[in-house]
Amino acid sequence: MAQPTDRFYTKEHEWVKIDGARAVIGITEHAQNALGDIVYVELPKIGASVEQGKPIGVVESVKAVSDIFAPISGTVTEVNSSAVDDPAKVNGDPFGDGWLVKIDVADAGQSKQLLDAAAYDAVVQAESH
């Protein structure tokens, strides 16, 4: 499938949608598919600082624990508690209702280190073959 073009991506299969000083973070369709049934989501506390490339929480499938890494740095303003209550949401709509964390962006320039939709798609294609 084509990757949404309204956001950036990491090699670890997170996405970040930046809107001025705010951003939303989640995991990609490829990630949820590779994980299988997600059973548990652990997210950071409101007000926590997150640092680009560092783990900010976990997504657990039946079999395994998978770290969520911050695509860019910032401060957590909101977490998706409905995804915590119903982790299957992350499988069902990873780019939409299955979002994970909202942040105040520290440095929008950090998006230069990220992949655009086409570059991320190339990563996905390479992993699938």
């Binding site: 299988g36 049934d37 059973v39 548990y40 652990e42 657990e60 039946v62 079999k63 624990v65």
Partner: protein, 347 residues
Amino acid sequence: MSPFGGFLMPIQYSGIIDEHRAVRTAVGMFDLSHMGQFVMTGDGVPEWLDTLTVNEVATMRPGQARYNVFTNEAGGALDDTIIYRLPSHWLVVVNASNSAKMWAWLGGGAGKPSGVSIDDRTPRSALIALQGPRSIELLQPLTSVDLKSIKYYHAVEGVVDGVKAEIARTGYTGEDGFELFIAASDAERLWDKLSVEGPRVGLRPAGLGARDVLRLEAGMPLYGHELDETITPLQAGLDWAVKLDKPGFVGKQALLDQRSRGGYDRIAGLIMDGRAPARAGYRVFVGDLAAGEIRSGSPAPALGGKNIATALVSSGVAAPGTQIEVEIRGQRHAAHVVALPFYKRSR
């Protein structure tokens, strides 16, 4: 697909939850051809195996299958196994991860009597397991053997869909089912046939991921987790399989000593009180006291998604009802000890 014990194995086909549901309500089909299959013939096979294992072999009746553990001098587990007494031979099935070790032990170090022949038929023999309440419904049309008459933990030789098979009513899921030993050259055809017949009874092919959840729910040990060379069958809660009045076997004295001293660390079943799963390696605490570590952990679909685990803990905290804590990413999460198994099928 993932490397496992020298083989490339599927972790899942349609998904662990879907495959688990199939096994508990219909039929799941597993390719277990990676497991080691050693055939033993000649004079003195059961007496010899009795010197290497904790459970009784020589008392096995024709057609019987029995769970057993091969031990070292310290009573630690070299491998767990199912031994089958078939009409013309004994069959010892070992974990794929221990195949080479067990072959070297049985073929070399273990004092094999000159009258005994052993043959590693693993490369030429496949193993397909059907597990679930609808197993007989699926399999009966394909064989003239009366499957209902095969007692649990017994095996017969027969023909399935025109293919010679050893049909064993054994399994690793806690459900009714059959393990079919067939020639490797017949395996693909039989798998395909079962796949074609399967949908009418809700069959799903099932991988290692589902297999691990199912056996954990059923309270069955996985070598490397609840058993290893430093964990004895007594510590693993397999007292029922340890026959200490058997004449000499490797590790007997160590196990006698362990039993008479008591107070040993042992495997306990846990249920997490909250939503975070426990995983192998997480530490267990009672108050500030380190009390052990998690050996296996997973959400359990058969328990409505509760998080279950086994842990190797000090004897003082192993009693069902004991409240403990599991450290997960630096935080303590409450759990309580329960008796195994977590799940028992209704009969």
